[in-house]
C-alpha cells in the first residue's frame, strides 16, 4: 500500500463529504428519514439518530468498501467502488436524510470485513468484528431479526468457526437473543407497532381490494367453482410476493428516477451511464458454487421485499456495494479492453453520459429539487 493510495481514499471521502454538504445546502432533507434504533425504542427512549452521525457512518462505509474491495479485487476496483458510493446520489441522499439503513450497512460491512480478515489471515480480531457487528445489528432494527439469524446460520454452515470460537459464538448470540427477547416481551405493544410498520407488504390495500373485489365479481359468474382454485388469497399473495421480488431486479429502479428517492427526487439512485458497465459486469460475475454469497444477497433484499412501497430504495442500500461491485467489474473490463473499438465506444458513451448527468444533477439540486420537495413530498 502506497502513500498515494491513502491520499486517494482520503480524497474520495472528502469529495463525498463535499457532495453531501452541497445537497444539504440546497435541500431541507436533514433527518427526513431519521428513526431511532430498535434498542432505544424498546427501552422507551425513541431518540432518532441525527443526520450528522449517519453521514459519518456513510463516510466510514466509503472506507470500508475501499478496504474490502482492496482485499478481494485489487486497487483499481477498490477506488472505483468507493468512488461510486461516495458520489452516488443514492447513498448521499440517504446519508444526509439520516436513514438508519446507512448504519445497518456499516455494521454489515464491518462483519463482512471481519469475515475476510478471519478467513484469509486467521486474525482473531476478525472473529470479534463479526460477533460485535452482528450482535449490534440485532439491536438496530426489527428487520434485522430476520436477516441476522440467517446470516448466522450461513456462517455456521460454512464451518468457519471451530471448537472454542464456535462455543463463544453460540454463547454470545444466545445471550444477545435472550436479552432482546426479554426486552421485546416487556414492550409487546411497541414490538407490534414496529412489526406492522416495517413488515407491511401484505397490508397493501391494492392486494386486499383485489382479493375482495375479484371474489365478488367471480361469485356472479359461471366460473365460480373453477375460479375459487385459481383466484383466492393464497394465489394472490403468492403472485404478490413473486412480483415484489421481481421488482428488485428491474433496471429502471436503479438507473432512472422511477422510484423517486425520498418521494420527490428526479435524481436517479445510480447514474444512467453506468448501465453499460453494469450489464457487462453481470456477465463477468462468477457465482457458480458461491451459494452462501448468493443466499446472503437475497437475504439483504428481504427488507425491501417486505416493504409496502417495494422496491424500497432506502432498504435496498444494503445491496448497493454489490451493485457497485458489478459496475466496477464492468468498468474495469472496459478500461482493460479500451483498445478494441466496441469497448472504446462503450467506455466513451459511459463516461459521457455519467459526466453529463453528474453536471445536470448538480444543477438540478441547486434549482429544481427544492421545488419538487415543496410540490411532492408529503
Amino acid at each position: 500500500m502506497k502513500r498515494i493510495d491513502y491520499l486517494g481514499i482520503l480524497l474520495i471521502i472528502g469529495i463525498g463529504l463535499l457532495f453531501r454538504f452541497y445537497i444539504i445546502t440546497f435541500l431541507p432533507i436533514k433527518n427526513l428519514l431519521a428513526e431511532p434504533i430498535l434498542l432505544t425504542d424498546l427501552l422507551g427512549n425513541g431518540q432518532s439518530i441525527s443526520w450528522l452521525t449517519i453521514t459519518s457512518f456513510g463516510m466510514v462505509n466509503i472506507l470500508l468498501i475501499w478496504i474490502v474491495s482492496l482485499y478481494l479485487f485489487g486497487r483499481l476496483n477498490a477506488f472505483i467502488n468507493s468512488s461510486l458510493y461516495s458520489l452516488s446520489p443514492w447513498s448521499a441522499y440517504l446519508d444526509v436524510s439520516g436513514s438508519i439503513y446507512i448504519l445497518i450497512l456499516t455494521l454489515l460491512l464491518i462483519s463482512f470485513l471481519g469475515f475476510q480478515i478471519f478467513v484469509k489471515f486467521k486474525y482473531d480480531i476478525g472473529f470479534y468484528m463479526i460477533l460485535i457487528s452482528l450482535g449490534l445489528l440485532l439491536y438496530t432494527h426489527i428487520l434485522m431479526l430476520i436477516v441476522v439469524p440467517i446470516l448466522l446460520i450461513l456462517l455456521i454452515k460454512k464451518g468457519v468457526f471451530k471448537q472454542l470460537r464456535l462455543k463463544i459464538f453460540y454463547i454470545f448470540f444466545a445471550i444477545a437473543f435472550l436479552i432482546l427477547i426479554g426486552l421485546m416481551i416487556g414492550n409487546k405493544e411497541g414490538v407490534t407497532n414496529l412489526t406492522r410498520l416495517h413488515f407491511n407488504f401484505l397490508l397493501d390495500p391494492r392486494l386486499i381490494n383485489s382479493v375482495n373485489e375479484y371474489q365478488g365479481e367471480l361469485r356472479m359468474s359461471p366460473y365460480f367453482n373453477v375460479g375459487r382454485f385459481i383466484e383466492n388469497k393464497y394465489t394472490f399473495v403468492g403472485q404478490y410476493i413473486i412480483f415484489n421480488v421481481l421488482k428488485q431486479f428491474t433496471p429502471a429502479t436503479y438507473f432512472t428516477s422511477q422510484q423517486t428517492m425520498l418521494d420527490f427526487s428526479f435524481t436517479p439512485p445510480v447514474f444512467l451511464g453506468f448501465i453499460i458497465p453494469f450489464t457487462l459486469g453481470l456477465f463477468l460475475i462468477r457465482i457458480r458454487r458461491k451459494y452462501a454469497a448468493v443466499i446472503a444477497f437475497f437475504i439483504l433484499l428481504l427488507p425491501s421485499i417486505v416493504s409496502k412501497a417495494s422496491p424500497n430504495l432506502e432498504r435496498l442500500i444494503l445491496i448497493a456495494p454489490v451493485f457497485y461491485l458489478i459496475i466496477s467489474q464492468g468498468l474495469e473490463k472496459l478500461v482493460q479492453k479500451r483498445k478494441h473499438n466496441i469497448y472504446k465506444i462503450l467506455l466513451i458513451v459511459t463516461l459521457f453520459l455519467v459526466i453529463f448527468q453528474v453536471l445536470l444533477t448538480f444543477i438540478d439540486i441547486a434549482f429544481l429539487e427544492e421545488m419538487r420537495i415543496k410540490e411532492f413530498h408529503s
Binding site: 375479484y214 366460473y223 385459481i230 394465489t235 403472485q239 421488482k247 432512472t256 428516477s257 419538487r372
Partner: protein, 545 residues
C-alpha cells in the same frame, strides 16, 4: 411430434381464431371511440368514397382530430359491406387477419432460425398470447401492422436466397405497415437499416437487390413521407410527441402546463425519456398488468404470461452464451420497437409496443425448447414426471387466470375505457328522436370524476347509420362553439339553465345531471356499466317557468 406440421398449424390457427372470434361483439363490452370512428368512416367511404369530413379517399383520416392511418379503415369497407355497420363488421378485419398471424409468425421464425420446432412453439405462443388476443379482439391498427411487418420481414429473409418477387413483396408489405399504424413509421425504416447492417456482407455482394428493394420501398412510402413532413400527419406527430407530456412539466420541471422548452430543458428530457424507455422492462408491464385490463395496481394481465418468465431467463442466458446468429436482430428489434412508444407523451403503452411481441415470443420459444431438452435429459423418471406435472399445472393455472381476468374482471372494471353505456344512451335517443325538438348530449363522463370526453356524436352517426351524403356538407359547429347536426347538440349541460328547456332530451353523466336535483318523472332512463356504476342519465325536463 413434429411430423404433422401442417396439422399442428391448422389446429393452432383454429384455436387462435376461436380465441379471437368467440363473443367478439360482447367482449370488449362496447365499441370504443376509435372503433366507432373507423366504422363510420369506412361506411362513409363505402357510400361516397369520402370520409366523414368529405375528403375524397384520404391518405390520413382526420376522424376526431387524431388523423388515423388509412389501411384499417379501407380494409373495414368490405367488412361493413358484408356484415353491416355493427360491432362484428368493425371488429372482423383485425380478428381475421390476426388469426393468420399465427401462420405468418411460423413462416418468419422458420426462415430466420431454420428451426421448425422453434417456429411451431412460437406459433403456439402467439395463438395464446394475451397481448395478441387482446388487440385482435377489437379494431386496432397495431395488430394489422404487425401482420404486415412479419410478412414483409419473411419476404425480406426469403429475398436473400430467392426470387426477385420477394424483393417486391417485402418492400410492399413493409411500407404497407407504415400506412397502417404510426409506430411503424419510425420502427420500420430503422428495422430495415438494422437488417442491412447485420447482413452487410450480403448487401455488399448483392448491391443490385439491395438498391432495388430500397427504391421500391421508397416509392411506396413516398406519399406517406410527404404527409408526415408537410401534411396532416405532421399534426399527429406534434400532438403525441414526448415534448407535450404534461408529467414531464409537472414532475421534472415543476411547471403547471405544457409550454416551450428551453434548450437546457432537453437535457432533463433525455433522462426522462430514458426512464420511459426502461419502464418497458418492468415486471409489472411484462407480467402483471401491462394490458390495463383491470384497475390500476390490481392483478391483471401483463403482455406476457407469468409462466414465460423462467423460459425468457433461460433463453437469454443460452442466446448470449452461444452468441446465436440472430441474437442482435432480437435485441435490436426490441430496442427499436420500444423507441417510438417511448418518444410519445404516454407512460407504458401496450398497443404502441406490440411490434416487439414476435421477438419476445421467439425468446420464450427458445427457452421452452431448452427446457424440454433439459427435462428429457433427466434420468430419474419420477423427477421427470414431477417437473412436467408442475410445469403443466402452472401453465394451466396461468391460462385459466387469464381467461377469468379477460372474461369476468375486464368487462366489469374497464367498461368505461371502452365507452360502455354510450351505445345504450344513443339507441334510446334514436328510438325516441321524433318526440323531441332537440337532443342534447354532454360528452363529459367518468365514474371517478368528469375526466373523460366521450365524443358521442360518432356513436350517433354509427348507430343511426347516418347518411354520409347529408352529414359531410352540413355545418356542424355552432356560433357558441358547440357541435351539432340534425336534432343533436353535443355540449356541456348546465342543469340550472337547461332544466327550463321544453321538449328537449338531455343525456349526461351524473356530473352534469346530478340525481339529487332531478325529479323522478324527469328521469326517463338510467344507463349502467357492467360493474354496476351509473354511466348516464336520460332526462327530459318537466319544469315550467
Amino acid at each position: 411430434m413434429f411430423k404433422n406440421i401442417k396439422l399442428i398449424l391448422i389446429l393452432l390457427f383454429l384455436i387462435g381464431g376461436l380465441l379471437r372470434f368467440y363473443a367478439i361483439t360482447k367482449n370488449p363490452v362496447s365499441l370504443n371511440i376509435d372503433e366507432v370512428s373507423i366504422g363510420y368512416n369506412a361506411y362513409s367511404i363505402l357510400k361516397t368514397a369520402r370520409d366523414e369530413h368529405g375528403e375524397f379517399l384520404p391518405l390520413s383520416f382526420k376522424s376526431v382530430g387524431d388523423y388515423k392511418p388509412p389501411i384499417l379503415i379501407y380494409l373495414t369497407v368490405p367488412s361493413i359491406a358484408l356484415f353491416g355497420l355493427n360491432e362484428f363488421g368493425v371488429r372482423f378485419p383485425v380478428a381475421f387477419i390476426s388469426s393468420f398471424g399465427i401462420l405468418i409468425i411460423h413462416l418468419f421464425i422458420k426462415e430466420l432460425t431454420k428451426n421448425v420446432k422453434l417456429s411451431l412453439i412460437a406459433s403456439a405462443l402467439y395463438a395464446f398470447s394475451p397481448w395478441s388476443i387482446y388487440f385482435s379482439r377489437y379494431s386496432t391498427e397495431s395488430s394489422l401492422a404487425l401482420f404486415f411487418i412479419l410478412t414483409g420481414m419473411f419476404f425480406l429473409l426469403k429475398m436473400k436466397n430467392g426470387r426477385k418477387i420477394y424483393l417486391f413483396l417485402s418492400a410492399f408489405f413493409l411500407s404497407l405497415s407504415m400506412y397502417t399504424y404510426h409506430t411503424e413509421r419510425l420502427f420500420v425504416p430503422l428495422l430495415i437499416l438494422l437488417f442491412f447492417f447485420l447482413n452487410r456482407s450480403f448487401v455488399f455482394l448483392n448491391k443490385g437487390k439491395a438498391i432495388s428493394f430500397l427504391a421500391i420501398y421508397f416509392l411506396f412510402s413516398f406519399p406517406l413521407i410527404l404527409s408526415i413532413l408537410f401534411g396532416q400527419d405532421k399534426t399527429r406527430v406534434q400532438s403525441t410527441f414526448i415534448t407535450t407530456d404534461i408529467n414531464f412539466y409537472r414532475n421534472v420541471l415543476v411547471k403547471d402546463e405544457v409550454g416551450d422548452l428551453a434548450p437546457t430543458d432537453y437535457a432533463w428530457m433525455f433522462f426522462y425519456w430514458a426512464r420511459k424507455f426502461l419502464n418497458y422492462f418492468q415486471p409489472s408491464f411484462l407480467f402483471h398488468s401491462g394490458l390495463n385490463l383491470t384497475k390500476t395496481g390490481t392483478f391483471g394481465l401483463g403482455v406476457l404470461y407469468l409462466f414465460e418468465l423462467p423460459f425468457l431467463a433461460l433463453a437469454l442466458f443460452y442466446l448470449i452464451k452461444n452468441k446465436t446468429s440472430y441474437l442482435l436482430l432480437i435485441f435490436g428489434w426490441i430496442v427499436l420497437g420500444i423507441l417510438p412508444a417511448s418518444l410519445t407523451n404516454n407512460e407504458q403503452h401496450a398497443l404502441r409496443t406490440l411490434v416487439i411481441l414476435p421477438m419476445l415470443l421467439l425468446i420464450s420459444a427458445v427457452g421452452i425448447e431448452i427446457f424440454l431438452k433439459l427435462i428429457n435429459d433427466i434420468k430419474h423418471i419420477q423427477i421427470k414426471i414431477a417437473v412436467y406435472s408442475i410445469s403443466v399445472i402452472l401453465i394451466i393455472w396461468n391460462l385459466t387466470f387469464a381467461l377469468l381476468v379477460y372474461s369476468i374482471h375486464f368487462p366489469k372494471q374497464q367498461g368505461e375505457a371502452f365507452m360502455e353505456g354510450t351505445k345504450e344512451a344513443v339507441e334510446y335517443a334514436l328510438s325516441n328522436k321524433e318526440k323531441y325538438d332537440k337532443i342534447i348530449f354532454d360528452p363529459v363522463r367518468g365514474i371517478q370524476g368528469p375526466y373523460i370526453s366521450s365524443i358521442p356524436h360518432e356513436y350517433v352517426l354509427f348507430y343511426s347509420k347516418y347518411d354520409p351524403v347529408s352529414y359531410q356538407p352540413a355545418k356542424k359547429r355552432l356560433m357558441d362553439g358547440s357541435f351539432s347536426f340534425d336534432k343533436f347538440e353535443f355540449r356541456s349541460i348546465d342543469w340550472s339553465k337547461d332544466s327550463e328547456a321544453k321538449n328537449v332530451l338531455l343525456i349526461g353523466s351524473p356530473w352534469s345531471l346530478p340525481e339529487k336535483e332531478l325529479k323522478e318523472e324527469e328521469i326517463l332512463e338510467k344507463v349502467y356499466l357492467s360493474g354496476g356504476q351509473l354511466a348516464f342519465l336520460i332526462v327530459s325536463p318537466r319544469r315550467s317557468k
